[in-house]
Symmetry: C2
Subunit: 337 residues, 2 copies
């Protein structure tokens, strides 16, 4: 059974539970409910496990805390919402240095302060490995909520920035400490260790009626774009994948392919949007004026199913499968056990 | 460092994060924020870890799922709120039987349906042990919100029911399978395996202006009452601790002290309330008419600090400390490492 199959089976098991005031359930970046007539609240939860998502060798406590919160905030940004509060369930083995745990909270607090996200509480427990499960609640005006299911054939696909820097930073942090000290490569280390969720960009894009669908790229563009297509009942033609300059520099030194990092790497937390074609030029100009960076067009939504290159080649999804302990690409190629 | 000291240190680390629209943060059964003028939303998160909170030998998947949700719902009940939705972060080791995980969701879905709590989504991840981190959001009219800090000297302390059944059920499930088959003892096994959070009672008590403070008794009365006193700046005189009839029956067979189970056992999820003295009689009559069971008076709040018996003997807290891996009582008596 793959992770996607398990998620589908779980959805079937809980399908009998009445949805009540829940407007969006399992399957988007965050769930949505209605606290009052004109507002929507969103909620998202994410777990980070030592040995799975990070190791204490490759990542400081401060960075582990920052990243644990960042992935949730990115989900809130992807709905067009602003964060309100976070709760933190923290598990840790007997004998864990309390100083390490407190340093985590420094990282969480630093990002929470930047993001305007209150820390509402949490839970502490024994566990066999350090485990954060963070939940963030956000709020958004009903008319600004963006989901994954609104893309239409002909829409322009775009990203809030280039990809691959986080994956390049992971290489430096884990395998190439010799390169990690190079000041020219500091940017990719920061992209990996203390990624910046696109909260301002997400709230701004949420307010645009030209943006029909939005999600974040936390699991890698090839995986996330396939999910956007599946939710919207469309396909996509992927014409160009912008590669972060820092990822190019690292790849030139390590001999890796930076385009593969950009396509499959994940955790860059750029926002992926589907924009009505006639509105894209105006939106991109206003985005540049507002944020300095580019809204990068990467292709277009199509009526036919699946994600393909301009020459018709299929783009396989390469996300990590927690059940198999392998990426989908590894499974497809028979490299996984 | 004890767990309470770690929590205090964490509070200090995150004290610099602006609270925004958060009205109640760390330290109550749930955190509270304000989604609109007259309503309050509450949020609570709780983690259950295999080997710490349950074992697959002593508890079925269905029951583990039920209990994981129950402790969160109990926190929502203790605020006078009604649940709206739950998110579930689930970690599990490689090779875990997907059927076991799906059975967990059956338990979660069964209780969620009873409680009117939607399942909003979650996260799946690899982890060294099965780990649930469940977050529940609830809502309550602003005037009905009950906290821990409102008790006053002279108030009547009361419980929504007798204690000790869950602890007796734990004994049967883990150590005495020979007794577990006895139909006379089925009630305590159910109290342990599929506890019923006091949601209707909590919402009803929340609407009473005579109820000044409320919390649940998930960590054991001796520990939870000390927390109620600390939050309210009062002490308490504990005159009587009602023992569940099923706990008495088990203790008679096992040779244990049922009064100790009721005082320290925890996880009965009864609600502990502090009630204005002049209003208690009327409230108790209405409670009986509404719910059938008794609102059991157990003592009174006092001006002097600490929890004491009527004869002045101090009542030590006996809660589990996740950092030390020992109860406070064990630490006080030198039995802990």
């Amino acid at each position: 059974m793959t992770e996607d199959e398990l998620v589908a089976a779980i959805r079937a098991r809980v399908a009998s539970v009445p949805a009540g005031r829940l407007l969006v359930g399992i399957g988007d970046d965050a769930a949505v409910w209605q606290p009052s007539r004109s507002n929507r609240s969103v909620i998202t939860t994410d777990a980070l496990v030592e040995g799975v998502h990070f190791t204490r060798d490759a990542m400081s406590a401060y960075d582990a805390g920052w990243r644990a919160l960042a992935s949730n905030l990115s989900d809130v940004a992807a709905m067009g919402a602003r964060p309100v509060l976070a709760t933190i369930a923290l598990g840790f083995p007997a004998g864990t240095d309390p100083g390490w745990l407190l340093d985590c909270y420094d990282g969480i607090a630093a990002l929470a302060t930047q993001a305007g996200c209150a820390i509402a509480g949490g839970d502490l427990t024994r566990a066999p490995a350090i485990t954060f499960a963070i939940t963030v609640v956000g709020e958004v005006r009903a008319s600004n909520l963006k989901r994954r299911n609104g893309a239409r054939p002909g829409d322009v696909l775009a990203l809030t920035g280039p990809l691959g820097a986080s994956r390049a930073g992971l290489l430096l942090a884990v395998d190439r400490p010799d390169l990690a000290a190079d000041p020219d490569l500091a940017g990719v280390l920061a992209a990996y260790r203390t990624p910046r969720p696109r909260l301002r960009e997400g709230a701004w894009l949420g307010a645009s009626r030209h943006v029909r669908a939005m999600m974040d790229t936390s699991d890698g563009l090839s995986t996330d774009l396939a999910r956007l297509c599946a939710a919207s009942g469309t396909g996509a033609c992927l014409e160009d994948v912008p590669v972060a300059e820092g990822a190019r520099r690292v790849a030139a030194r390590s001999g890796d392919d930076p385009a593969a990092w950009a396509l499959d790497g994940g955790e860059d937390f750029e926002l992926l949007i589907s924009v009505a074609k006639r509105g894209f030029g105006h939106l991109a100009r206003r985005f540049r004026a507002r944020f300095g960076g580019e809204l990068v067009p990467i292709g277009r939504m199509t009526a036919g199913p699946g994600v393909r290159r301009a020459d018709g080649t299929p783009v396989p999804s390469a996300g990590w499968d927690h059940l198999r302990g392998a990426t989908q690409k590894e499974r497809d190629s028979g490299r996984a056990p």
